[in-house]
Symmetry: C2
Subunit: 343 residues, 2 copies
Amino acid sequence: MAKVTLKVIANTLGLSTSTVSKALKNYSDINPETKLRVQKLAKDLNYTPNAFAQSLKSKGSKIIGLLVPDLVHHFFSSIINGVINEAEKHGYLVIVLQSYESYEDEKKQLKLLVDKNIDGILLSLSDKTIKYDHINSIISEGMPVVLFDKVSQLIDCPKVIIDDRKAAFDATEHLIKTGCKTIAHITGPLKPKTTIDRYMGYKKALEKYNIPFDKSLIYTSENLSYEDGYNLTSKIINDHPKLDGIFAFIDPVAIGVLNSLRDMKIKVPKQVSVIGFSNWFMCKTTSPTLTTVNQPAYEIGERAFQLLFENLNNIEQGKAITSKIVEVPTNIVFRNSTKKIID
Amino acid sequence: MAKVTLKVIANTLGLSTSTVSKALKNYSDINPETKLRVQKLAKDLNYTPNAFAQSLKSKGSKIIGLLVPDLVHHFFSSIINGVINEAEKHGYLVIVLQSYESYEDEKKQLKLLVDKNIDGILLSLSDKTIKYDHINSIISEGMPVVLFDKVSQLIDCPKVIIDDRKAAFDATEHLIKTGCKTIAHITGPLKPKTTIDRYMGYKKALEKYNIPFDKSLIYTSENLSYEDGYNLTSKIINDHPKLDGIFAFIDPVAIGVLNSLRDMKIKVPKQVSVIGFSNWFMCKTTSPTLTTVNQPAYEIGERAFQLLFENLNNIEQGKAITSKIVEVPTNIVFRNSTKKIID
């Protein structure tokens, strides 16, 4: 006999697995009649929730999983730091995994975590992930998941985000307010939402200050690396001799830009201003120091664990789990790669 | 009745707990007569090894713990990366913790790990750790432990190390071979073995080339930070106007030195050569790029897991666990903060 899963119940009754899951947990947003139908069928079929759901009821393992795309990024090290410190306060240990920005690895690693009877998962999506069944099915089976940094609207769970569009708007506006008129944007790989959001923020700032958008000023860094920033810069300067500002998707790219401009004897910020994104440790060590958007990684990690912990408590107390979205504010760190604002 | 522990058996027979532990595991380096005495008493007292030792016998949890002093260091992020990738190949998950360079936290975190029935522990000692009972007792109770990077001879377990003395010798020799005669060494906090070893390597190189050792050329960076390097440099230059070389304990300090020299309009390497240690990502982004000792962090992490895995297999097959020491070679990465070698 096939195992009775949420899916079997859902298919039998013509409902979504998420509705069935919520009905079994007595969520308030599910129609009482639907609840009764689901609960009756589950009882008739002798449905048992799977291992981790049971383990949660019996106090849990006090271990959570943290899956990030890339461990060596300074940004993710700081996030891990925030998660681990916050988890420690509540007596939780953290298994750390990485997806290497690969959809297949993300699926594989999530399965490994689920098989280990952990209590919950914190996840930042890989750049290659565009289908979400592997995550939604875990959630609908009762595993508490929190997304952070790289998230998707197609996944219903708590999230910790920054407003990438606003942050990119602020960065571009800062260049405009300090006198830049021809501003290039080095963008990232097309898929992740952050790429689109930062691009949109850049465009919106130009619009506000009546600077015509010029598609030829958009350059793509596939690897978001120092080398990409370095190598793209001579092309950007060749294509646009009047260029006076560059907004780079992420700090390593911006630092590549800085060093390439230095080697071309182009003065920063006198001739060209440069602004980065993320506020990596080394921004204060470059010459000139790099103005950038501060993305508070430690706080993002901390808040992500807090959201997970809230839902672990909700589950323990038989309450509905929530899908709260927390937006962590960003700010610009003014250093010497941009000019002072002209009043 | 008090619980029968290794310690009780050891005290009764006037042996060390480590000897008792080895005798119970039938190690070849224990006298057969001692083995018999230990094994008889253990049987008489109904000695049972504790939870994790039992859990290991029953196939184990396939989870290991990794305790590092500081997560945000680029060096440790790369080590974690090496550990996680290697662990993944063998189906192991990794709980990551940090001791914040504190002895008390190290003790606390190790206890947390042991209580979780994990299969083994990878550990880099905190700078403040000078007593090792908390580690030796875990080992003697049967938990496989591997030390890496910051280790101690007073702990009997497998270790992955680099030859800090040789690496520091090489770094100093490189400065001498490129013409430097008055070389300052910025050292770290006194306690860790790495500090002493690098200091000894520096001294030994001077000795080989008949350069008199001058104590006033030794400066201490308490926080091993960029700021420390920056702030110490003006003092160093003031104290020693003839200075032509600086060997810094670790890259962030060396980068602080580079930037301070630049701000003082002192040319690198024309007037002063600078060499760092570790090969952090940003060494290739500084101006000039930083010559440094490459400490292969990824490989250290990888080898540490391999040594642990060997012992997990040994335990499963009833073989004695080993205390192998693996030395990972270092090399100098030649960049532009030092001159070319004079033949």
